[in-house]
């Protein structure tokens, strides 16, 4: 489509996309080459990077590089699912309160504000502690259900300003029903905005997952980047100088987060008429 061509002209977008795709490719392709189970013991504990072991081993003697690949898969999955959930909730609530206004707007806004005021991380921790089941999917859902307020607010602001436009009025006096107006007159004008919000929600989701898992509240059964960090800290990798057990994981989290934000910045420059330069 036209938009993709324009986006590819943005340096920021292309660089961010490149970094992201490189990381994702690694996460998907490497385990296809190296089909071992990342939880298998392959050598002594804390072996440094060497022939056959690109990033050495962790405290148990497992292949760190393989873990990194699998962990990235999980983290990306959590980030993506959390992003989808948060964006969907934020979109629906934002559209309703922005378009309908009145009492519904007041109720939803109060509800949103409550969620904003309470630090979502605290809620995440409390929910994670009280739930017995620990899985990546559940974590993703919990993150999604606590990080939507930002999107809701942004969508509400956009909807509020769009609903007074003439084409919306024309649609009304042409007999459009409210859902149809929202779908055809409001949403398309917000589409780029929503996509950007989605990208940011994914980034936020990945960071949240890393944080929760590092505290030990993450999924037990799967490896994620945050879990890698947790193990490294728990088993004193820094103290023993085994930087390969946690620095790569941290770098990957930072790189994914950076690439998503950079892509978003690139998209903003293209789509946001207010900051477009010549």
């Amino acid at each position: 489509m036209y938009y993709i061509k324009v986006l590819l002209k943005s340096h920021k977008f292309v660089i961010g996309l490149f970094v992201l795709i490189s990381i994702i490719s690694l996460a998907i392709l490497y385990p296809l080459i190296n089909t071992n189970d990342p939880k298998d013991l392959v050598a002594m504990a804390f072996e440094p990077p060497q022939e056959g072991l690109i990033l050495g081993t962790d405290n148990f003697g497992r292949d760190v590089f393989l873990q990194l690949a699998h962990g990235t898969r999980t983290s990306m999955y959590v980030g993506l699912l959390a992003g989808i959930v948060a964006t969907s909730i934020g979109l629906i609530l934002g559209l309703m309160s922005g378009y309908i206004g009145g009492l519904i707007d007041d109720v939803i806004t109060t509800f949103t504000n409550m969620f904003i005021v309470i630090p979502s991380f605290i809620i995440l921790i409390l929910i994670s502690v009280s739930l017995d089941v620990r899985s990546a999917t559940l974590l993703a859902l919990v993150i999604g259900f606590t990080t939507w307020p930002w999107t809701a607010r942004a969508v509400r602001a956009q909807t509020s300003s769009l609903r007074s436009r003439d084409h919306v009025n024309i649609a009304k006096i042409s007999g459009y029903t409210t859902p149809r107006i929202i779908y055809s007159e409001i949403l398309p004008y917000m589409a780029s905005y929503v996509v950007m919000a989605f990208v940011l929600q994914i980034a936020a989701g990945i960071l949240a997952e890393a944080g929760i898992s590092m505290l030990g509240l993450g999924p037990h059964d799967t490896i994620s980047l945050g879990v890698l960090m947790q193990w490294a800290l728990l088993f004193e990798a820094p103290a023993t100088g085994a930087w390969w057990a946690f620095v790569p994981a941290a770098l990957f989290i930072a790189a994914i987060s950076f690439s998503l934000n950079y892509m978003n910045s690139g998209m903003d420059e293209i789509f946001n008429p207010k900051i477009r330069r010549n």
């Binding site: 003439d166 009025n169 024309i170 006096i173 042409s174 007999g175 029903t177």
Partner: protein, 266 residues
């Protein structure tokens, strides 16, 4: 003026925005009567309440108090069906032709929607022939434009498509909110002529909303002058221009530059 000729009237119409100290009384206890087939202008400067009154008449904004009567009966806009019914009779043209279109759709969609509003089920061929007829009325070629997007048309062309939409809908009342203020001076007459032609064809009542007192004089039979939410003077266009009574009207006419009279700039 026979009472049974009144198609639209308002009694004690008021609209307040905000509350407490920030309260703004946009429309303040306004009464008005519009007769069938008349051309009426509501003239006022920004902040006079004319746009708010227009929105209330259109049913896009709810009045805080007071009632509107359409064809002698109290207007009800509570259910979807009642609103739909009202909009079969009352339609609008807005100031900015560009923002009146959804930029993501072809311009013919505006006309197709009219068919939906009328509630008839027509074949595709019938719909196309109706659209062609509407385009012809405004001197546009259907074949050339129907699948173009709004940004490919000029302001004047877009406004003409909006008029063709009114041609298809054939409402009893048209609210025209500054229809030519964003059109080039040299293309204005085209738009205005088409509106007048339409009025003659379907005996449509037109309510112009404008800040241009000269334009309102040229176009209309009756003028309502609005200031700060109230109608301060009303009457025949000729009477108001040649013999204004209210001090605001007098000052308004005085402030407009004329061609043959001197303009006292002090």
């Amino acid at each position: 003026m026979a009472d049974n000729n009144v198609i639209l009237s308002g009694k004690n119409v008021t609209r307040i925005f905000g509350y407490g100290k920030k309260k703004v009384i946009a429309v303040n206890n306004v009464d008005f009567e519009i007769n069938k087939g008349e051309i009426v202008s509501i003239v006022g400067e920004s902040g006079s309440g004319k746009t708010t009154l227009a929105r209330i008449i259109l049913g896009l904004l709810k009045q805080t108090s007071g009632e509107l009567l359409f064809d002698g009966k109290r207007r009800k806009m509570n259910s979807y069906k009642e609103r739909l019914n009202y909009w079969k009779n009352v339609q609008a043209i807005f100031q900015d032709p560009f923002s009146s279109f959804n930029q993501f759709h072809k311009i013919e969609r505006v006309l197709r929607d009219c068919v939906g509003l009328s509630g008839l089920s027509l074949t595709e061929a019938e719909i196309v022939s109706k659209m062609r007829e509407a385009f012809e009325f405004v001197n546009l070629k259907y074949e050339e434009l129907y699948n173009k997007y709004p940004f490919e048309l000029s302001g004047g062309q877009m406004q003409r498509v909006m008029i063709s939409r009114i041609f298809m809908l054939k409402p009893n009342i048209l609210i025209a909110d500054e229809p030519t203020s964003m059109i080039d001076v040299c293309s204005r007459a085209t738009i205005l002529d088409m509106l007048m032609k339409l009025r003659v064809e379907i005996n449509m009542t037109i309510v112009f909303i404008t800040h241009d007192v000269g334009l309102s004089y040229y176009l209309s039979d009756k003028i309502f002058i609005m200031e700060k939410g109230k109608i301060v003077e009303r009457g025949n266009a000729v009477d108001i221009i040649t013999n204004p009574q209210h001090p605001y009207t007098i000052q308004l006419l005085d402030d407009v530059p004329k061609l043959h009279e001197a303009w006292n700039l002090g």
